[in-house]
């Protein structure tokens, strides 16, 4: 087993993580001192402002703050939110599942549909279907995801009110069990569609070009020559080989996905990490912003590493060179 390759990938992931932690610290300390906002209120006396600054440890010299930061992050203590005074982990903990649900469904659907369309287009290269699919996916890939979201709202929530266009479940309802799942499912339809349309193009383009390359390989002709029906040649041999580049290239995609989460969640009032970070920016709640930014980066690093592992298991040429 060629574990050296895998270990190399793990090391780069870890190094990037350290790099992110250090950069995060400076990035947010430079963000400006949030307590200056208090000076604005008529009733806050300068003495109170100092009290708050001391509370957040902002009065210590930068080095002192960095030492606290390293100690805190090591113990996964991201401080408390300045807005809700709750530990940042609780805020993130409440928001994370919703983002995973939205991003998960969106990415999954985008992968399945994107890849499938990619294969269909590759096997019908040059025909009108190929051009049509290429046009459609490049167009959805080019359009801003929040704009797609707004169009979906216009069509399916305002013009023909089939689906709810906001929140993750009917507000204030105490549904349980299957009713709640269905209710959430119904609220999930539009945001997930927006997410899927956003990511579809990337998977389609990668899969199509990868399939086109594979289909010109000699072994595809040999497989057909052995009498295998074309459909089984495509599904059994061409697709597995075409999936390999898809796994690595789609890893870069996760960075975009997180960006999409911010905008799509904001339009649909989907209480995920994206919306939490958007609110944190407006409330100048920098512990939460720092926390969400960290979780986004860690998620992307992890997903990239996962993609490497998946590639490792999928491709024998890497397992045992």
């Amino acid at each position: 087993m060629n574990t050296r390759w895998l270990a190399g990938k793990a090391l780069t992931a870890f190094l990037t993580l350290i790099f992110v932690l250090v950069f995060n610290f400076f990035l947010f300390r430079v963000m400006g001192d949030p307590t200056s906002q208090l000076a604005r209120l008529p009733r806050a006396t300068p003495e109170e402002i100092r009290q708050l600054q001391a509370y957040y440890g902002l009065d210590k010299p930068l080095v002192g703050q960095f030492a606290d930061y390293v100690a805190d992050t090591a113990t996964a203590d991201l401080g408390i939110s300045q807005k809700t005074r709750r530990p940042v982990w609780t805020e993130i903990g409440e928001a994370l599942p919703w983002t995973l649900l939205l991003v998960g469904t969106g990415t999954l659907l985008a992968m399945v549909i994107g890849t499938w369309l990619g294969i269909v287009a590759a096997t019908r290269r040059g025909t009108r279907t190929d051009d049509g699919l290429l046009g459609f996916s490049l167009f959805t890939y080019a359009s801003p995801e929040y704009w797609i979201g707004i169009i979906l709202i216009l069509l399916f929530a305002v013009a023909i009110p089939i689906f709810p266009a906001g929140l993750q479940e009917t507000p204030g309802s105490q549904l349980t069990g299957l009713d709640r799942v269905l209710d959430i499912g119904e609220h999930l339809v539009l945001p997930a569609t927006a997410m899927t349309l956003m990511l579809l193009g990337q998977y389609f383009v990668i899969m199509r070009s990868s399939m086109v390359d594979v289909l010109t390989e000699d072994f595809v002709t040999v497989k057909r020559a052995t009498g295998l029906p074309w459909a089984r040649v495509v599904r059994g041999h061409a697709v597995p080989n075409a999936l390999l580049p898809l796994v690595t290239l789609s890893a870069i995609q996760f960075g975009i996905v997180m960006g999409g989460a911010v905008t799509i969640e904001t339009i649909f009032s989907w209480p995920g990490l994206g919306e939490l970070s958007y609110q944190a920016i407006n409330d100048k709640d920098f512990p939460v912003l720092q926390g969400t930014f960290l979780v986004f980066s860690v998620a992307v690093i992890l997903l990239n590493f996962l993609a490497d592992c998946l590639y490792f298991f999928l491709d024998p040429r890497v397992q045992a060179p």
Binding site: D218, T221, V222, A225, G227, L228, P229, W230, R317
Partner: protein
């Protein structure tokens, strides 16, 4: 009756023929060499036999196969795709040039052989033994079988390819440039292997190569293709001794003879014609030193010696007449 008969095979690409008027026959157990520069339509002909041409190419003409053990002949040109799936690999199999990507890189070698067998003999029981035996016949062990293609050397991969080709005990194997990607020693081993298999299994072989030396050793009969047409065919030994077409002659002249006079073989001037605007009359005319006005009219492939046919107005050529006949002379 011959195992495979091809009459008037034509393959057109956007209306222009890139293979025209090909007539070939292969007897059971016979080895037919198909020679010609790259791009002259050799591979296209091979793919046409197995009906594996890409959609852009439209074949026409008749291809008849008479596999042993079946009474009425198989008209390949009239077969549907589903029909061909029953023929491919059971009666005719293929060995590709660069075996590196001729085997599925993410699947073990024995698995690929198993899949081919299972396809045509679904009810076959345990195939472990049979695969092991197949590998041994091509000089590989079952350990090689368990490996992935990238873990084998060039020669081993080519042997695996041959094992795969023999998996369903076909009557005819088409080997398209099987040794081109190998070094000389490996080349000799593979050719010797093909020869041994042919005699032991009574296998018919179509060996495609641009290298006449390879064909000289391994084949009984030889056909030379130029710009999509058969310009000469006949018993290999006879064609080598008395080529009846200027193109074959030039090909033979460009062969280095070990121990022969030292000197760089003079290459054939010019380049193969573009299939989309073929020259008038004989396709070799623009590059033929003996071309004359009569060559403006396309010569037919006719019997010029016993069992030997050539498509040249000046045929039959006596060995010494190559020097005498002035370029441009009358027949």
């Amino acid at each position: 009756m011959s195992l495979l008969e091809i009459e008037g095979l034509e393959v057109r690409h956007r209306g222009q023929p890139i293979v025209a008027g090909v007539d070939l026959a292969v007897e059971p157990g016979e080895a037919l060499g198909l020679a010609g520069e790259s791009g002259c339509g050799k591979t296209t002909t091979a793919l046409a036999i197995m009906k594996l041409l890409p959609p852009a190419l439209e074949p026409s003409g008749t291809i008849t196969l008479r596999p042993p053990g079946t009474d009425e002949p198989v008209r390949i040109d009239r077969r549907t795709e589903r029909g061909m799936q029953l023929v491919r690999w059971r009666h005719v199999s293929l060995v590709f040039q660069g075996a590196m990507n001729a085997l599925d890189p993410v699947q073990r070698v024995d698995r690929q052989i198993l899949e081919a067998i299972r396809l045509h003999e679904p009810r076959a029981g345990k195939l472990g033994g049979r695969i092991k035996e197949l590998l041994n016949t091509v000089g590989l062990t079952s350990a090689h079988g368990r490996a992935y293609p990238h873990q084998l050397s060039g020669g081993q991969r080519q042997r695996a390819m041959i094992a795969l080709a023999l998996a369903c005990r076909p009557a005819l194997v088409i080997a398209d440039e099987p040794t081109t990607a190998l070094d000389v020693i490996m080349q000799a081993q593979v050719l010797e292997l093909l020869e041994r298999l042919r005699t032991e299994l009574g296998l018919a072989l179509i060996l495609i190569s641009h290298d006449l030396a390879v064909l000289a050793e391994a084949c009984d009969r030889l056909a030379v293709m130029y710009a999509g047409r058969i310009v000469e065919s006949g018993p290999a030994e006879q064609v080598f001794r008395a080529p009846q077409h200027p193109y074959t002659k030039r090909l033979l002249d460009s062969l280095p003879v070990i121990g022969g006079a030292r000197g760089v073989a003079d290459p054939i001037p010019g380049t193969p014609p573009d299939p989309h605007d073929p020259p008038e009359g004989c396709t070799f005319r623009p590059r033929c030193p003996y071309a004359a006005d009569v060559c403006l009219e396309e010569p037919a492939l006719r019997e010029v010696a016993s069992g030997q046919r050539a498509a040249c107005h000046f045929a039959p050529w006596e060995p010494e007449s190559w020097a005498v006949r002035r370029p441009g002379g009358t027949p």
